[in-house]
């Protein structure tokens, strides 16, 4: 049910009246700081969806002892928030403000108290887009690990609130803790969760597959494949999943700040038919590495990455010496869903000719744009400080890159890009906070224009400091996973 403008204003007024007791007064006098506030997370002049959870923030606790923020809507209504150094806005009040500000902006004034005086900062705006964001995002929470890992979980977060629930964890079905269990690569068909999957590795290993809401476990390893399915991509309409199969290794730097190098010794592409439990090979060039499949939204193309041949003098050498020279280009093949036949390979983007390596392609829902991660070399840019997201128009000659400077970070890894289902929000997992613990950042995308990225808000902004986990593989979903952890675990009893 949509609220009229009058009802919205009335609701906002009522909410403001009802909750005014907990709202602080703005300082009666203050010194002008003549700069934007150093709020964390940085929400100054960002564009947010009209349904996002409250953008709670804080001033640095080691510098300030109090913070007050005043939000002013376009019609002049105001509200203040602040407790200690944190600004935490009740969800109902925030959503009422957003509803009243769709397509407009909220003006935010911030005051910080330190050394017995109040400082007033330069006001900033939060622009409220008319377009909503998909209600859910799922990710894997894991320490920024090397080889060993401890508890990990695949979680789903309601982006319109702060609710976070577990989809699965690596404890419930782990039958040998010394071997451990890894869970990864959650993937959905068309942003919905009735057809989805994730992998369980090592102890009690299987791929957990949900088909029309029914859970099963499958093993995709065949004697003609390198491994079982690894990086998945659901076909948008058919019960087909493209996977890469990989022989993945990693090594560790002793000085390089990238710390870890993840590389494939071999990788191919396969197609898994959910209905028949059959596996067919898409491409398996033994001398080259094919990885990261993704479908066009109409399902008529399969995009993927493939390494370019190494220079003659480097072939056959230990990959520990050749890894900085391995670069990937983007390719695609046509696909006929009726015959299940793939067409010839077509080069989409020649990254290597720019001395770059392109990975993780994602096509916009309208099929017009290509988003991918790019770095100097290799296939695992979340471990590369130079990893950035690139966007360009598809199906045009010599496409230029869109300006993603407000989406990417400088000097920190940005990787795993994805599109919201309406194509207006792009998301990345980025280590920009500290170079180590990745967080999710989202930008508004409108007809090729990309606004400043904002970090997914948390109820307590300090949670980003104390949660020593990475947000892996963020994926948009239009609905939550409805199967509980226990229900998923029962598939291992069979």
């Amino acid at each position: 049910m949509r609220m009229s403008k009058f009802e919205t204003i009335l609701a906002v007024v009522c909410l403001l009246l009802l909750s005014c007791v907990s709202h602080p007064d703005v300082p009666s006098s203050s010194k002008e700081a003549k700069c934007l506030p150093a709020i964390y997370p940085d929400y100054c002049d960002v564009t947010v969806p009209c349904n996002i959870a409250p953008l709670n923030f804080m001033l640095p606790a080691d510098e300030y002892d109090e913070c007050v923020a005043r939000f002013t809507m376009s019609d002049g209504q105001q509200q203040t928030y602040g407790s200690g150094v944190k600004v935490q806005i009740p969800e109902d009040e925030w959503h009422a403000m957003l509803d009243a500000s769709k397509g407009k902006s909220l003006k935010v004034e911030v005051w910080g108290h330190k050394n017995d005086e109040w400082l007033s900062f330069t006001p900033f705006e939060i622009h409220v887009a008319k377009e909503p964001i998909d209600e859910y995002v799922s990710y894997r929470l894991i320490e920024p690990s090397y080889v060993a890992w401890t508890f990990m979980e695949i979680a789903q977060r309601n982006l319109t609130s702060f609710e976070e629930t577990q989809i699965f964890n690596n404890e419930i079905t782990m039958n040998d803790r010394k071997i451990g269990q890894c869970i990864n690569c959650h993937s959905y068909q068309n942003y919905k969760t009735d057809n989805m999957l994730f992998h369980v590795r090592l102890s009690n290993a299987a791929t957990v597959l949900v088909s029309d809401g029914k859970v099963s476990k499958v093993n995709m390893k065949r004697d003609y494949t390198i491994s079982s399915g690894v990086y998945p991509a659901w076909h948008p309409t058919a019960k087909l999943i493209a996977f890469s199969t990989n022989k993945t290794r990693q090594g560790f730097h002793t000085l390089n700040p990238n710390k870890i190098e993840v590389y494939d010794e071999a990788s191919d592409l396969i197609l898994y038919d959910v209905k028949t439990d059959s596996v067919s090979v898409i491409c398996n060039d033994s001398s080259l590495l094919e990885v990261y499949p993704t479908w066009s939204p109409d399902g008529k193309y399969l995009y993927y990455c493939k390494s370019v041949p190494l220079p003659e003098e480097m072939r056959g050498k230990d990959i520990r010496t050749t890894y900085p020279k391995i670069q990937y280009n983007l390719y695609r093949r046509t696909f006929d869903v009726t015959s299940r036949k793939f067409g010839d390979e077509e080069l989409v983007y020649d990254a290597a000719s720019h001395n770059k390596s392109a990975t993780l392609p994602r096509i916009s829902p309208d099929g017009r744009y290509l988003l991918f991660a790019e770095g100097q070399y290799g296939c695992f840019h979340i471990r590369h400080a130079d990893g950035d997201i690139v966007c360009m128009l598809l199906n045009v000659e010599n496409p230029s890159r869109l300006d993603l400077s407000r989406f990417n970070s400088k000097g920190f890894a940005d990787s795993y890009p994805s599109w919201s289902s309406n194509g207006h929000w792009i998301m990345t997992s980025s280590r920009r906070g500290d170079g180590n613990f990745s967080r999710i950042y989202i930008s508004y995308f409108n007809n090729g224009r990309v606004e400043k990225a904002f970090m997914v808000p948390q109820e307590d902004p300090e949670q980003n400091t104390f949660r020593l986990k990475c947000y892996n593989r963020p994926e948009f979903m239009v609905e939550p996973v409805k199967i509980s952890v226990n229900e998923f675990s029962k598939v291992f009893d069979k």
């Binding site: 404890e171 560790f252 613990f437």
Partner: protein
């Protein structure tokens, strides 16, 4: 009057027995098992943080688990830990005794406590288990105190689910989640079953007259039998290994050398720590074969997937100036903690390695977490101002030195340290005498005479 005197003597005798038991526990953990307590402390990180507490208490058995974790943080100081264990085990005995006051079987009141003592000999047994037994006894004791009738029935009905949530339903009483802590269950069961059995046997007691000797004799019998079990099950080998690890983590090089010279350790951790101490004293290459060796695996062993063995290796990497590898090794060790806990020792070292490598924001995150602890807070407060302060870091006796020792060349490291890496480390800074000691020892242990000779020649030409 005679009865009164006997009662007084009995009371005093029982108090003395409890005291004697408590002192024995205290001395055992303080003198025989101190490093087991340090071991326990380093595999958890108790945070004074609402969400941390909530995450624990919301699980069945969470209150007992929380109390166990809270007490374990004091194990950083072994004698405090020993005192806590002694108090807990004495409390269990006294509460068991409250449930039956049958003189001639008095000694049986010590059985649950002795079983818990046996349980705690296992380095993976967690103190939450002791708390679970104690809380159960408190609840049962409360029920027994109530007058028979509806009040007691209602109390029982209310107490059972609460007790389940507080203690009975827990499964985090052993670090191996799949392990069945038989001794803990035996202690639990004995604390409840023994009083019932004793009350039943009381019917057959021949003499209603109290006596001092019989109860004390029953105590002596239980103490001798159970005490023998405790001693027989004491793992002194593990204690010794933990001692070497403890000494390395506290950089007690002189003490290590004194003990290693006397004992000539031949276990993996002992040899690694002994070699590190020798290197720190500049004696590794010269005295290498005065001690037991284990090839290059005794210098810098490969990182294994467990929480214990990588720690001394990580200390060696750290002291060598191989900070990134030390960081990885510590991280792997922490990730291998079987019950998914974090470690104060590991967090501290991760903060240090990130600080030395200039990853200040990562170091800050570990330090902010340590600020929420009781015993690492002060260190975190002292370290936080160093972040980003290049001058202060350069002047710092440890971090400044280790920064200068950093290798100038990037190596792509798997699990093996190679001679090339040690060479590069040494030639990046020839003041790095620890690297020189390890390099010489590496050549000696691998029998690489050519490279050893070249190195010596180079040193002579300097």
């Amino acid at each position: 009057m005679k009865h009164f005197t006997i009662h007084c003597s009995l009371f005093t005798g029982k108090a003395l027995c409890t005291l004697l038991f408590g002192v024995a526990v205290l001395l055992f953990f303080g003198l025989v098992y101190p490093h087991h307590l340090h071991y326990q402390e380093q595999y958890q990180l108790f945070l004074f943080d609402n969400s941390y507490v909530w995450e624990i208490v919301r699980e069945p058995g969470g209150v007992a688990d929380l109390l166990g974790r809270f007490c374990t943080q004091f194990f950083l100081y072994a004698w405090v830990g020993a005192l806590i264990i002694a108090l807990l085990l004495c409390s269990v005995q006294l509460l068991t005794l409250r449930l039956f006051n049958v003189q001639w079987l008095y000694g049986l009141s010590f059985v649950p406590s002795f079983l818990l003592w046996l349980f705690l000999l296992d380095e993976n047994a967690l103190l939450g288990g002791v708390w679970a037994v104690l809380l159960t006894l408190l609840a049962v004791g409360g029920i027994v105190c109530l007058p028979k009738g509806w009040t007691r029935c209602i109390f029982v009905l209310v107490a059972i689910p609460i007790l389940y949530w507080v203690a009975l339903g827990g499964n985090h009483y052993h670090r191996y989640p799949t392990a069945i802590p038989t001794l803990l269950y035996a202690a639990w069961l004995s604390a409840i079953v023994l009083p019932i059995a004793v009350r039943f046997l009381h019917r057959f007691q021949c003499s209603p007259q109290p006596s001092v000797l019989i109860p004390l004799a029953s105590f002596a019998l239980v103490a001798v039998v159970m005490g023998t079990f405790v001693w027989k099950n004491t793992n002194l080998k593990a204690e010794k290994v933990m001692q070497y690890d403890f000494m390395a983590s506290h950089q007690q090089w002189n003490r290590i050398l004194a003990i290693a010279t006397a004992e000539k350790p031949n276990n993996q951790i002992g040899v690694t720590v002994q070699n590190l101490a020798l290197a720190m004293h500049g004696q590794l290459a010269d005295h290498l074969f005065d001690y037991n060796q284990n090839g290059i695996a005794g210098l810098l062993p490969e990182v294994q997937r467990d929480a214990t063995s990588p720690m001394p290796t990580a200390e060696a990497f750290y002291q060598l100036g191989m900070i990134a590898i030390a960081q990885r090794t510590v991280f792997e060790a922490q990730e291998a903690i079987l019950d998914f806990q974090k470690s104060g020792r590991c967090y501290k070292r991760l903060a240090q390695t990130n600080l030395i490598l200039g990853s200040y924001e990562v170091a800050r995150k570990y330090l902010m977490a340590l600020k929420k602890t009781l015993f690492y807070r002060q260190w975190a407060d002292e370290t936080l101002p160093l972040l980003g302060d290049e001058e202060a870091i350069a002047k710092h006796p440890e971090y400044g030195r280790l920064r200068q020792m950093l290798c100038h060349e990037n190596f792509y490291f798997g699990d093996h340290v190679t001679a090339d890496m040690l060479e590069s480390l040494f030639f990046s800074n020839t003041d790095n005498r620890v690297a020189l000691e390890y390099l010489r020892a590496y050549y000696m242990l691998t029998g690489d005479r050519d490279r050893y000779a070249k190195l010596i020649l180079h040193l002579q030409q300097q």
